[in-house]
Symmetry: C2
Subunit: 421 residues, 2 copies
């Protein structure tokens, strides 16, 4: 089972918009057991669409197309598909109802141009796009499947998750794949490997185990693969394997099925009913915005201070003037006082702090660009750490955030130990 | 002059990494007068590389390849190119010197595997990659050009800017394109169009003018295009056009050649020697991190408070308890006090504030999800505004930031008027 992805749109071709659709579509396909053999970006030109559609059909079983479905003249995907499949457009009543509903909800009048959104080729199966006016179209063609979806990312993602992936799995009776991620901290990869070796050897042959190191932790990925009708069995096998892992390595497990460190922070804080504050100099609000980008942050996140100038470090966080004079803003003493000041002033159980030279300017021989101090404060203790990065500002900010989250998760879990059985 | 882009790498194909290379390469090519007719992502497979390289050479004058140049076994681009061009690998001394320099600087020993990075096909022109160990390779082939670059974005961008684009322009004697962006605020598109019509009609035929509306402002883009040897002339024409625009519309011009709103904020604050503080609830640090992502933010940005909980709004920003009780956290009264509190407590000339319901939870019939208040405070006045967005959290945060930046730039420019000549 192979798929190709064809993203249509001048805005993608000229680089005005980064093509995030290709990567999210690939991820969903691969998680569903469908390999991706190529992704192509072309402009809104009928001859290119025709050529690459033919090319993709030749090279794969499934062709997923996005874009070019708007009501304006430059969007020609639907017309071109109609010609390709020697079909004709008609007004689909279900699609029209959907278009009307969306226009009603926005309080707009439905113009004839917009009504054309409900027209689809007779030969396709119309798949309703409840989040937008452009219907999704499914074509069965010479034993292969061609699907055309809108290019708006959230509409495409919703269609893929709720309609297209399940339909593809049913249509091709694809292998079932069940994934499980276990996040582990506080033990090296080789020690963990020794510890869980008997467990690993006892896993059924359908389950594969992968060690994926992340910043400051390790992700164990269990993948069960089996035939189309075995989903329930595979899920049972995964559940049993996870249940059997806890008595062996439970004290090192910090989370399950979380993809990013901020997600793991949110999970950890909520799990232990702990609250958090941030005090940021060199990360400049990146820590705060990573947390608040996720819904529900107010359950554990109280707030933070972006202490970019020394005056703000003093007045908003209570860093001592003398400390700044004696040790400088980028020092262990300052970062500790920042974390402790944030914790006490913002009234949280934990606080994290960063101060450093993100660059490209501001470095000295003693403290070159990329020198960063981080700290995590709890009621009982404050842990600080010195980091060295290069002169790339964005990378230094990103890596500093990862180190902070890793240290925070470690400290919170140390303070809330899980007893091994 | 047409180019195709071929991005090679399993990590791109499976969606683990978003392909930002394609968009940044397209932007650079188009700015240099070279059209892009397609971008292709394929995996690290020799038959696919061979097939699509042949395909791209057939369809375009220039093929730009990224990826697959690392020292590990799965990186096969160099070997495959060597076979394609019927050439053989040899150790290039300039490339070896570069590899040694990079290993020395990192304090690593040069292993035989890493030394192979300096091997390139005899038939190519080696283009030194000073930021990494994988050399860039330029192939002249049947009147066309094929360039292979590393996939690491910052290495590719540097090679494109400093080496490949200039060499392509010289090789194909491409049209010269000179762009200039003028950012305008405080006048509607149609009024501006009337005002500058005589100026527009007087522009030389080499210059095209485009109106590009942005959040809360308008971008005028001047594009001069001429033959390869006319760069100096085109630049003169653009400079004269801009100089002649100022006496007509100078009071509305807020910046030149800036792409993003945060860049314009940085420019505006520095230009008027003004300082800024932020007070964020619903944007949760996004304002702060947009500013601090840019080098030099400490010149004008003093810091900020992420006041996620009401207690932090009170203790760190001085919002009155009674105001929060009477009007709630999402109210004009609260957002004004947040902005004024940030300005006075953090000691800045200006402060901006946000409070709202980013969702998806937390809405009420009176204040549905997407309700946002923003404010900008100066020494003289505080301006507040109510916004309504939908229920998509990331979009609400992004649009709130744009509205804040637009209002801030407006207020700072009002307070520092430029006299029309």
């Amino acid at each position: 089972m192979k798929a190709t992805i064809l993203n249509i749109g001048d805005e993608l071709l000229i680089g005005q918009v980064v093509n995030t659709n290709a990567s999210s579509m690939s991820q969903m396909l691969i998680a569903a057991g469908i390999d991706v053999c190529g992704t192509f970006v072309i402009g809104d030109r009928a001859d290119d669409i025709d050529f690459y559609l033919r090319h993709c059909i030749e090279r794969s079983d499934v062709v997923l197309i996005t874009g070019g479905l708007g009501p304006t003249k430059d969007d020609i995907t639907k017309k071109t598909l109609c010609d390709f499949f020697h079909s004709e457009l008609y007004e689909n009543q279900e699609a029209l109802t959907n278009v009307k509903r969306i226009f009603d909800a926005r309080g707009y009048e439905l113009t004839p141009i917009n009504r054309q959104q409900a027209w689809v080729p007779r030969c396709c199966t119309m798949v309703n796009n409840i989040l937008g006016t452009a219907p999704c179209m499914w074509f069965d063609y010479q034993g292969k499947v061609v699907v055309s979806m809108p290019g708006v990312p959230f509409e495409m993602v919703n269609l893929m998750q709720t309609e297209i992936i399940p339909r593809l799995q049913a249509h091709f009776r694809t292998d079932q794949i069940v994934n499980k991620n276990i996040l582990v901290q506080g033990i090296g990869e080789s020690f963990l490997s020794d510890l869980i070796e008997p467990w690993e050897l006892s896993l059924p042959s359908t389950i594969r185990l992968a060690y994926l190191p992340q910043s400051g932790m390790l992700k164990l990925r269990l993948t069960a693969r089996g035939s189309h009708d075995d989903r329930a069995l595979l899920q049972q096998q995964i559940d049993r394997a996870v249940a059997e892992l806890y008595p062996i390595a439970g004290q090192y497990i910090v989370g399950e099925d979380l993809e990013t460190l901020p997600e793991l922070v949110a999970y950890t804080m909520k799990r232990h009913h702990a609250t958090l504050a941030t005090a940021e100099s060199c990360t400049g609000g990146a820590l705060a915005s990573q947390l608040t980008a996720m819904a529900g942050a107010s359950e554990y996140y109280r707030g933070g201070v972006v202490a970019y100038s020394n005056e703000v470090k003093e007045c908003a966080l209570g860093v001592s003037h003398q400390t700044l004079l004696d040790h400088g803003a980028v020092s262990e003493e300052t970062v500790r006082q920042m974390a402790e000041g944030a914790r006490s002033r913002l009234g949280s159980d934990y606080a994290v702090a960063t101060t450093g030279i993100a660059g490209p300017g501001g470095g000295t021989p003693q403290k070159p660009v990329g020198t960063v101090w981080i700290a995590v404060a709890s009621r009982q203790q404050t842990v600080a750490r010195l980091l060295h990065f290069g002169d790339r500002r964005a990378q230094t900010i990103e890596r500093t955030c990862n180190a902070v989250w890793s240290d925070l998760i470690k400290l919170v879990n140390q303070n809330n130990p899980v007893k091994p059985l």
